[in-house]
């Protein structure tokens, strides 16, 4: 997923101000009237720097926000969790529906091995305890896209419990310092996704697509977060981990990763407040926005003498606010009961594996542990060690989809210093992408082209300003190589010492006053001369070389 707007530190945002050094406190927000007022208010306070958040006037209450998350990740597998029908995004509606998926009477669930392995893998990557025995339950509710009238999930004894997720929050005045934070993972459970309801309000009908009944991993994060940014950063880290593992494509826009947030506010030292659940968060950016909005809404509500209802709220993207979901009113009792058609899910490790067990029939946790791929935190560490880059640069490289691969491909093909490559990829290349709102995969500049460009720079064939010019040309997608551009535009540095000396000589003769200034020890005068020479070379000369020649000629 492209997340160009993603920020991974708690910068000043709207009304929520996160202190990263010790739980966040929320200052009383400006009293707000209608929803539209609140939204307009956003821009006026958005620029407030972080530190103002900690300044509270005497007698003013401090608020602390508590945020927990329930994350549903669609397991990337060829077939569904309990049936053999295929999984494919954007397949024609109801084209991938087995008799079981349609809940025809008499059909029974059969657990997909791949989904179990994905759950174990994810559990291991998130430092969870893997339960060697887990159970499936039925959760009942009537809804048109739930044809059985119940969802099969793991309520009593989930497959993985007690894990943790470490994510980095940016801090410091320039947001240049990364502080690791930990959120506890309560559990990971396997469950079946529902179908999809497509509401046609015009004809007041609802159409049901049952293609979606794929396997889900529900990851429950404990309420260890305190603002939208922290939640967003944690989710982004989880997303990277799932993608690294290949257990989920975790694309929020395609609904492969869905996040519900539980939010409450209270005064530090006092019991937790009543929480609301915010749903319908389909991008990381909206997640952060919705949480911060909801925190401030609750603060305002309480400050104005109101009370918080334990309710489900939906985030409205366009209005930028959360709204109560009326259809979820009333107490839901899901009438959980054990799923009688699935025996307990038993997993083994090297010590408990029965002798002569058919490897097709058993799942070995230790074997899965051995096949775990490199996780993002390790990748970042390696980048820092191998290329000497700053930790926050490694975060940026991983956070942008495809950027790390792009970087590594450039590194592979160029002789330029890694630091140079890092700087070009993160500043120039990423800057261009952001400016035009493009994903890495949509970039007009290939890794090879950038590598070639950096080689030209490294070999001092061109100057860095010429390099920028070449990059600009490359961006135009005219299919030319950097080498071609350099020769067409005659951007090579002048390597001919004699010619350059001749040029310097002419410039000095044409500007006797500047030469005089240099001799009178005006420190800036020499730069002016260098500039004049460079101009005469159409920027094709190396300033260092020019300076050497000038200094020699001026006998400095």
């Amino acid at each position: 997923m492209a997340a160009p707007m993603l920020r991974w530190g708690c910068r000043g945002r709207r009304w929520a101000f996160a202190r990263v050094d010790g739980g966040s406190c929320h200052r009383r927000g400006a009293p707000t009237g209608s929803t539209s007022n609140q939204i307009r208010g956003e821009s006026s306070v958005a620029q407030q720097p972080l530190h103002t958040a900690q300044k509270t006037r005497k007698g003013e209450h401090k608020w602390a926000a508590v945020v927990g998350l329930e994350i549903h990740a669609q397991i990337s597998s060829n077939s569904k969790l309990f049936s053999g029908s295929q999984v494919r995004f954007s397949a024609p509606p109801n084209s991938l529906v087995s008799f079981f998926d349609a809940s025809l009477p008499g059909t029974l669930p059969v657990l997909n091995r791949r989904c179990v392995e994905a759950a174990v893998m994810t559990g291991l990557a998130l430092n969870c305890h893997i339960n060697k025995k887990s159970l499936f339950d039925r959760k009942h509710y009537f809804y048109a896209d739930l044809p059985a009238g119940y969802q099969i999930t793991q309520q009593r004894l989930p497959i993985a419990v007690n894990g943790s997720l470490i994510y980095g929050v940016c801090a410091g005045k320039k947001q240049s310092q990364v502080i690791p934070k930990t959120v506890r993972i309560k559990q990971i459970q396997l469950e079946q996704d529902s179908g999809k309801s497509l509401h046609d309000n015009l004809r007041s009908q609802t159409l049901i697509d049952l293609n979606r009944a794929v396997g889900l991993l529900e990851v429950v994060l404990e309420p260890d977060m305190s603002c939208g940014e922290e939640a967003a950063t944690a989710v982004r880290e989880l997303q990277l981990i799932l993608q690294a593992l290949g257990t989920s494509q975790a694309n929020m826009a395609e609904g492969q990763l869905r996040v519900d947030a539980n939010i409450s506010v209270h005064h530090p030292g006092e019991p937790l407040g009543v929480r609301t659940e915010v749903k319908n968060l389909n991008s990381i950016r909206f997640l952060a926005k919705a949480i911060d909005y909801e925190i401030q809404r609750q603060i305002n509500e309480l400050e104005n003498g109101g009370e918080i209802l334990n309710e489900t709220r939906s985030f409205h993207h366009k209005l930028g606010c959360t709204m109560s979901m009326r259809d979820k009113e009333g107490k839901q009792d899901y009438r959980f009961m054990p799923e009688p058609n699935l025996p307990p899910l038993v997993l083994y490790d090297a010590t408990s594996l029965p002798a002569g067990a058919d490897p097709q029939q058993v799942i070995n946790i230790d074997q899965i542990r051995e096949t775990l791929p490199e996780l993002p935190s390790v990748t970042r560490e390696k980048l820092v060690q191998q290329y000497g880059m700053l930790l926050e640069h490694s975060f940026t490289l991983l956070n942008e989809v495809g950027l790390l691969e792009f970087f590594q491909n450039v590194i592979k093909e160029t002789r330029a210093e890694p630091k140079k490559v890092t700087s070009w990829v993160l500043n120039t290349f990423l800057g261009y992408l952001k400016q035009q709102n493009l994903a890495v995969s949509e970039s007009p500049v290939t890794p090879s082209a950038l590598a070639e460009l950096l080689d030209l720079l490294d070999s001092r064939t061109i100057s860095s300003s010429a390099a920028k010019q070449v990059f600009e040309e490359l961006w135009k997608r005219e299919g030319k190589t950097p080498g071609q551009i350099v020769s067409e535009k005659q951007l090579e540095l002048m390597q001919d010492q004699g010619a350059l000396e001749q040029l310097c000589h002419s410039v000095m003769e044409a500007h006797p006053q500047v030469v005089m200034d240099v001799k009178n020890r005006n420190p800036r005068a020499i730069n002016k001369l260098i500039g004049l020479v460079r101009k005469a070379t159409q920027s094709r000369a190396d300033p260092v070389m020019i300076k050497e020649i000038l200094e020699k000629k001026l006998s400095l």
């Binding site: 008799f99 009477p105 059909t107 029974l108 059969v110 039925r138 044809p147 609802t206 025996p343």
Partner: protein, 539 residues
């Protein structure tokens, strides 16, 4: 020919004494003649004739698929049959045609069996009389037997014969009536609390409930998933073993089937002597007056059944078997425990019938919720709705621990009782199947479905809690000329041993064959052509 056992008719087919098509037509004709029994909901005449034709070709080419090739069978209407309406005797599924075959149905068809039709039952198998289905009650063929009629003539109080017909028991009463009336050689029932054994006892048949996990439930429209087992109704134990041989085995579509490959076929040895056997009799069987509320001796147990039970025990003892009393202290809680577990699963299993995907849908369309409510009100009978209501109550968060979890614990205690009994050296347990012989319909409906189910399942139900194999064997006729069955219960997955003992017992008791000649005066041609002698061969 129609009166023969499955094994006998199979031999006749192999020897070419009769062709599958001839056999099929005779059964179809008898089905029509006995339509008033209401045994079948759907008669799949065309399908059966086509299957018979194919079977006939195989026999001609000497490529018979085995003992079941060309054998007419019937299937309870809660097993999914591809292309054939499957109703569960409910308005909810009227007109529902499954696109797939239940595994057990498919296995029978793969063996060349002829599917005569889908048999009647209590709605969604909830009942013990086969009286509570939307297609009306099933009539017990014994109501029209010579044996019963002659006894009734001796009784001066006998009333209107036509309205005094007997129930079959249930809920697989249609399957029992179909086999009992010679319209097929074997039928599938389902057994959740005794639904196969109970009608077998009332209709003078062998009713076999295999071990849970031995036979696939895929395609069986569930009552209680954790207790449902496809059951087998036949005229003798050997026939049940043949059918079991075709059905048993793991099914990748049912995760609760056992993975160990099953020894096939289920050939039953003829026991020469029973002196190495140990028969367990649940305690108090000889106590007549006091403490009758405990365990298997319940006050409603008829003296005739009691006496036959004792005689059966004596028979084993006299033949050298060890007969011991065993205690099953928790089985008295079985019925109430079953009530909680059954209704809870029913509430869950019935949630899918919402009128959206298949089955009945009401005309109300003001909202989805209103549509659900009206559809379910129209689609389910009072019994089903009552169980859904109870089940949802037991599953409520505030009740779950007090009811469902406790019931599960009691279930474990009941299962442990059986384990303890078998660990003490018992090979099979012997109990009655039902409290008494079949009662007249008018008598039966004086009590409601719940009371009836509780009483009628009393001997059979605990077996389902424990997942054990059990078989009801017809023993003798009552004073009224009606069949009485006794139940043998075996160790889990020792189905073959259980049936072997049952076969020995069956041979000893020589249960009489039902005599339906009078009833079928107008179809006597069918029977007479078939050497009537074979029908009453064992008399």
């Amino acid at each position: 020919m129609l009166g023969r056992s499955l094994r006998e008719v199979s031999a006749a087919l192999k020897q070419g004494q009769i062709t599958p098509t001839e056999l099929c037509q005779k059964c179809l004709s008898l089905i029509k003649k006995t339509k008033f029994l209401n045994a079948y909901i759907t008669v799949s005449e065309e399908v059966a004739l086509k299957q018979a034709e194919e079977s006939e070709k195989r026999y001609k080419n000497g490529q018979s698929l085995g003992d079941l090739d060309g054998i007419p069978i019937a299937v309870k209407d809660n097993f999914s049959t591809s292309g054939i309406e499957t109703t569960c005797a409910s308005n909810m599924l009227k007109g529902y045609i499954p696109p797939y075959n239940a595994t057990v149905v498919q296995k029978l068809l793969d063996q060349g069996a002829l599917l005569m039709g889908k048999t009647n039952l209590d709605e969604f198998a909830m009942g013990s009389g086969s009286t509570d289905g939307v297609f009306g009650p099933v009539k017990n063929p014994w109501s029209y037997s010579k044996q019963y009629r002659e006894k009734r003539k001796q009784n001066p109080h006998s009333e209107n014969e036509d309205s005094d017909w007997l129930i079959t028991g249930g809920s697989s009463g249609g399957s029992a009536a179909a086999v009992s009336a010679f319209t097929c050689y074997a039928a599938l029932g389902s057994d959740t609390g005794g639904s196969t054994r109970n009608p077998a006892a009332h209709c003078g048949l062998v009713g076999f409930k295999p071990s849970y996990g031995l036979v696939s439930r895929h395609g069986l429209i569930p009552l209680v998933n954790s207790m449902d087992v496809p059951g087998i109704l036949t005229r003798c134990v050997d026939d049940a073993a043949i059918v079991l041989g075709a059905l048993a085995g793991p099914d990748p579509r049912d995760s609760t089937t056992v993975h160990e490959p099953i020894n096939k076929p289920f050939m039953l040895p003829s026991l020469a002597d029973v002196s190495k056997l140990c028969i367990g009799i649940p305690k108090f069987q000889f106590c007549i007056l006091t403490f009758c509320y405990k365990e298997y001796l319940v006050p409603e147990l008829s003296s005739e059944v009691q006496s036959l039970w004792s005689k059966a025990a004596d028979l084993f003892e006299s033949e050298g078997a060890k007969v011991i009393e065993v205690s099953l202290p928790h089985t008295s809680y079985s019925i109430v425990c079953y009530h909680v577990l059954c209704t809870s699963e029913v509430a869950s299993n019935m949630a899918r019938f919402d009128g959206l995907q298949y089955g009945h849908r009401c005309d109300i369309d003001v909202s989805t919720e209103a549509m659900y409510a009206a559809t379910r009100r129209e689609g389910f009978n009072d019994v089903v709705r009552g169980r859904i209501l109870s089940g949802n109550f037991f599953l409520l968060k505030e009740n779950y621990e007090n009811y469902f979890v406790k019931a599960q614990k009691v279930r474990r205690l009941i299962a442990n009782d059986f384990v303890n009994a078998f660990n003490s050296g018992v090979d099979v347990l012997l109990t009655p199947t039902t409290l008494s012989e079949a009662v007249p319909y008018l008598e039966f409906i004086k009590e409601d479905n719940r009371t009836r189910s509780a009483q009628d399942d009393i001997f059979t139900q605990a077996v389902n809690m424990a997942g054990l194999p059990a078989v009801s064997i017809p023993v003798a006729l009552s004073n009224q000329g009606l069949p009485i069955g006794l139940q043998f219960i075996g160790r889990a997955f020792c189905d073959q041993q259980l049936l072997t003992v049952a076969k020995w017992f069956e041979k000893q008791v020589q249960f009489p064959v039902i005599q339906l000649q009078e009833l079928m005066d107008d179809c006597s041609a069918v029977l007479e052509n078939e050497k009537l002698a074979s029908v009453s061969l064992k008399q």
